[in-house]
Amino acid sequence: MIIYPILIPLVFAIITVLFWENQRVKRALSIISTGLLMIVNINIFFVVYREGIQVVQVGDWPAPFGISLVVDLFSAIMLLTTSIVAFLLAFYSVDGIDLARRKYGYFPLFQFLLVGVNGALCTGDLFNLYVWFEVMLMSSFVLIALGGERTQIEGAIKYVILNLLASTLFLSAIGLTYNLAGTLNMADLALRLQAVSSSGQVTVIAVLFLVAFGIKSAIFPLFFWLPASYHTPPVTITALFSALLTKVGMYTLIRFFTLLFPFESEYTHTIILISAGFTMLTGVLGAAAQTDLRRLLSFHIISQIGYIFMGLGLFTEYAIAASIYFLVHIILAKTALFLSAGMVESIQGSFDLKKLGGLYKHRVGLSMLFLLPALSVAGLPPFSGFFAKLGLIIAGLESKQYFIIGLALFVSLMTLFSMTKVWNEAYWKPPKDPQYADQQKPVSRWRLAPVIIIVVLSVLLGLFANPVFEVCQMAAAQLMDPSQYIRAVLGMVR
């Protein structure tokens, strides 16, 4: 059952490669694949919700010897959210990706990326996680460079090198872990690391993993690749990355620091909290200095990651639940924002706030597609962002971390500043160039429909925050009690 999230995109990726020459078939295949994936993931979600953690021992080898695939509620939530976004992006890609990129492998790469993402979300094995990360990373390397324009290549080079550095650290950390604990299965590791937890090595390895995944999820002070590269490829690809890549990094951090390294939480989680604060702040400050819509949104990714990280740093069940809710919220809202930006660009031909303008005048509906997720990201009620931040604030007060809460609120205000700045410039202000003044270029339905759906989902996530948050709380409860995970994988706690 839980192998399907990996197999479906993989099978379709291969078939897409076989149908390399036929654009229509490739397009259809990617929609079918992501649709199937979504159905499967909905199913998985409900099974996990009802029956608890699901485990498959690949090859029928008992854990910890073979590779275990494990889906707990947290993974299931992530699988579900990412597959919904992927499905909508598959539609958006029909029109949102130019012919050259479609010819040179966009669709199979899209599928391969999903293989990596789903693999990383499902696996319960340390080295297998590395492999899926590489699958994900390799696809993203190609996607980001695909097209080969100058800025893109420049961005890609930084992206590739910094991510390879992270991979090296990751691989080294795996080697050290195996050296220390003699196993790769994460459930088994959790037990074995507990046994040697008193020694400083475990903590230092924890720190190495923190850095490795920190680079991938773009936290302070390791995020440099993101602003350097995320704005260079077409916005569809940026949306894909923002929804999946950094979030999978975050997923892994949360998994590692609840399952593998919960000891010495005083120390590691203080580091996390400090980094989270800076991540929020530097991200939002970076965004404030931008006038390019894509750059601005890219910096905001960092800032939002800071919030999720903050929940991990607070390290209470409630805080983790808020982080998970935040993840879901930001995946939807951020994708919506990027895709809206893409539509803006398709109408006015620019991402530059100085050139844009006047969209609210003629395109009220389209403006709302930006406005609603923007307000949500800014944390205004009754949208999902508000509940996400409220959860974190409540959790923070319970842990008496007043400073970080103050910071979170300040950053929230600055996010509002950025979002309304975009609104002022791109939607309210009359464009400087009168030729844009009465733009009525139509936006294709392939683009419009998915954005509308994702915005509606995002709004619903806010209005019906309760059931979602309760599920997040269940997921957090599972995370904070690793014995459930360990028992599910190893059968019994030995």
């Binding site: 492998g105 492999v131 390799m138 097209g147 020694s199 680079i215 390791l222 530097t282 509002l416």
Partner: protein, 774 residues
């Protein structure tokens, strides 16, 4: 109550439908849409609050975060809800006419109704977090209404400013709410009231209080956050009348009144709130006297009045609370009227400059009547309700134990300004000759729906004054009881006999008239004075801090995101090494000692080759030398693999190494030549230090982890089961294709992707002979 809360929430739906209705019916949609607030008015009247705490209904929204849709209607909520819905009805009718031919009328209706519903939500919700939700919704709708004429830069700037200022306050308030929730364990306001002793004992209470106060201050435009309100006059006049005078700006006052039973007992309350209010009361009044624009005049007096209300609540005596409630009602009535009048005048005369307006009574008799009544009320002249209100205010200050004279004196000062402004706005444009002739102005007759709403409001004010024993008394009493949490009687009457208050009223009026008459000399001088002062005012502080924020943002981004890859790498490595060192250093005691095994002769040779080649690679300045050295490293590693029991590895390493070399050789002439590294010495030294630190860190970690015996169960299991269960003798291969086959599947997927990548990057440029012609 259930019905009422449902009606209120329906507002959001109606708002969304409003644009479609407007497209169908044009401005006549106003008549349909006005039914919404009217329905609320009717339901409110049917509920007539007379008990101390009215029954509330509750249903869960996000209970896991403490958000319950609790609706409560007590006297306080009732009073303000009546204002919202009542004035709202008039404003919708008025707005439909005022913006009759405006292309964005539908958006006006949309946001005004969203505002209306949210504002009603603010005053009826009994849950602090839900209150916050509605509170922010009023800010959002205010943003869109101020920015209604979004094509004007001034409107955009004002909308933005209002949103940021109130948004900042809102966030502070949220933090305060959450703190209170922490203290009392609930977000239900009635729980807070019941546990007010807990609150007062808590060490966190002062912080919560200050944070909530910040929210109230920004929303109700208290000094030093008052500046957004006059700027918000960029909004169309019906919006100014409704949001920025009669209702939304009262939200802060409402909040203070609502939480008075919870926070009023704090010592800080009496130490802070009155002063904030007083400063605003006086400051607003003085600022008002320097204005010539009708709306600005009204805006500054609104600031002043809001200050007055906050001041009275800050005093906190039963008398002061009563006066505050009465003042709140009165102010909404006359100020709403005057704003609507100002809109009517602007609409028909085409100007809002009081120096250019005059003799309009003939053209606009009903507007003049409404204006006159409201002005009299504002000036505090009997028998209008404004008179009673003012007497009450004086009484509160006069009988306040500390500083009666100073407080009363300042109140008189503020009221003098009110008298003058009332005259300038309500009398002068209609009856006096204009001070300056403006030939461009061609006043036309008033339109029906621009005078009915203000007149209705004005007459309400008159009736409430004349029959002051009636409705007003009940409402104010109920509101006061709700604030004080005890039954309180309010007796309103026009005549108390000759009291000090009456004398003060007369005095106020006399000075006021003098000021009114002195407008020609007074206004320009004060205006010049304020202009000079404005360079240090909070408005400047706002823009300065924005500018500072932006330059800090630009500066830090330039520093962090310099664009130079090596700085990024250095930062990452320094972070890693520092964290590792700190972690190990603080845990030094528990670190075990590693053990060594003896190396052999051949091992040493190959290791030396590796080390030497690695060092030489860093010095090599030709690409060919680099490739050769890399090959040497790769092959030496392969041999080490072979020596140390890993023949498969050795083979793969050989093969891959060969291929890599072939690859390099194939493209070497397409690769850029080595540029001479021209780093300055100190940069090179830094790089060497960083690299050495990274290398040493890794060595230390390897040795440390090796020192702990790992007791792996994996290897024995694989060795034991390889043949019986997986039918293979070569365990490494069995692991690859069976035990951990999934890894291999992923690995070959990576290869596949890499090949696509190579093809995509090379092919895209070539335009391709073969690929991609589909």
């Amino acid at each position: 109550m259930t019905a009422l809360s449902i009606t209120i929430l329906t507002g959001f739906l109606i708002a969304i439908l409003a644009p479609f209705l407007t497209r169908l019916m044009k401005h006549r949609a106003a008549f349909v849409l006005a039914l919404y607030p009217l329905a609320v008015v009717i339901q409110l009247l049917a509920l007539q609050p007379d008990t101390l705490t009215a029954p509330s209904i509750q249903f869960p929204w996000v209970p896991s975060m403490g958000l319950w849709m609790t609706f409560t209607l007590d006297g306080l909520g009732f009073l303000i809800a009546m204002l919202i819905a009542g004035i709202g009805t008039l404003v919708i009718l008025y707005g439909g006419e005022y913006l009759r031919d405006d292309p964005y009328l539908e958006r006006f209706f949309l946001w005004v109704i969203i505002f209306m519903a949210s504002m009603l939500g603010v005053v009826t919700s009994g849950n602090a977090l839900v209150l916050f939700v509605f509170w922010e919704l009023t800010s959002i709708s205010s943003f869109f209404l101020i920015g209604y004429k979004f094509e004007y830069e001034s409107a955009r700037a004002a909308a933005w400013q209002a949103l940021l200022v109130t948004g900042a306050g809102g966030l502070a308030m949220l933090a305060g709410f959450v703190l209170l929730g922490q203290i009392t364990g609930s977000f239900e306001i009635n729980q807070w009231m019941q546990n007010s002793n807990l609150v007062q004992e808590s060490a966190l209470a002062p912080a919560a209080f200050i944070l909530i106060l910040l929210g109230a201050m920004t929303k109700s435009a208290q000094f030093p956050f008052h500046f957004w309100l006059p700027n918000a006059m960029e909004a169309p006049t019906p919006v100014s009348a409704y949001l920025h005078s009669a209702t939304m700006v009262k939200a802060g006052v409402y909040l203070l009144a609502r939480l008075f039973p919870v926070l009023g007992g704090l010592a800080l309350w009496n130490q802070v709130v009155p002063w904030v209010g007083l400063l605003t009361l006086v400051g607003g009044a003085l600022l008002a006297l320097g204005q010539t624009d009708l709306k600005k005049l009204l805006a500054y007096t609104t600031v002043s009045s809001l200050g007055g209300m906050v001041f009275l609540l800050g005093l906190g005596t039963p008398l002061a609370v009563k006066s505050a409630m009465l003042f709140l009602l009165t102010h909404a009535l006359y100020k709403g009227t005057l704003f609507l009048v100002a809109g009517g005048v602007d609409h028909s005369a085409g100007s809002r400059d009081i120096r250019k307006l005059g003799k309009l009574a003939k053209l606009m008799p009903f507007t003049a009547l409404a204006a006159g009544l409201a002005a009299l009320s504002m000036a505090g002249i009997p028998p209008l309700i404004g008179f009673i209100s003012k007497e009450y205010v004086y009484e509160s200050t006069y009988y306040y134990s500390n500083l009666p004279f100073i407080l009363t004196g300042l109140a008189v000062l503020a009221n003098v300004a009110n008298v003058a402004v009332a005259g300038w706005v309500g009398i002068r444009p209609f009856w006096q000759q204009p001070e300056q002739k403006d030939e461009d102005l061609h006043p036309h007759k008033e339109s029906l729906w621009l005078w009915i709403p203000p007149l209705v409001l004005a007459i309400t004010g008159l009736f409430m004054g004349v029959f002051s024993q009636g409705t007003a008394q009940t409402w104010v009493a109920a509101a006061t009881s709700a604030v004080l949490q005890e039954m309180s009687k309010v007796k309103l009457s026009l005549w108390h006999g000759i009291t000090p208050m009456l004398l003060l009223s007369v005095l106020t009026l006399m000075i006021g008239v003098v000021v009114y008459l002195a407008s020609r000399t007074l206004i320009p001088r004060l205006a010049a004075f304020w202009n000079k002062l404005s360079s240090v005012g909070p408005n400047i502080f706002y823009s300065r801090s924005m500018r500072a924020f932006l330059s800090v943002a630009g500066w830090q981004t330039k520093i962090l995101q310099s664009g130079y890859l090596r700085y990024y790498i250095i930062t990452i490595l320094v972070t890693t090494v520092t964290l590792a060192v700190v972690t190990l250093a603080t845990r030094y005691d528990s670190l075990p000692n590693p053990q060594w095994t003896q190396p052999r002769f051949y091992d040493v040779i190959f290791i030396v080759i590796i080390i030497v080649s690695a060092i030489l690679v860093t010095r090599a300045e030709s690409r060919l030398a680099t490739i050769t050295l890399l090959g040497a490293i790769g092959f030496s590693i392969a041999i080490l693999f072979l020596l140390y029991s890993a023949p498969d590895l050795a083979m793969v390493q050989f093969a891959v190494e060969t291929l890599t070399v072939v690859l390099f050789v194939l493209v070497i002439y397409q690769l850029p030549k080595y540029t001479k590294s021209n780093y300055p010495i100190h940069a090179n030294v830094l790089h060497i230090i960083v690299s050495a630190a990274g290398g040493i860190m890794m060595v230390v970690l390897m040795l440390l982890t090796s020192a702990v015996p790992s007791n792996s169960t994996l290897a024995p299991y694989f060795m034991e089961s390889s043949l019986p269960l997986a039918k293979g003798h070569n365990v490494v291969n069995v692991i690859l294709v069976d035990f951990r086959g999934l890894d291999t599947l992923g690995e070959i997927t990576v290869l596949m992707i890499a090949a696509i990548g190579v093809f995509a990057l090379l092919g895209l440029k070539k335009g391709s002979k073969r690929g991609g012609n589909g």
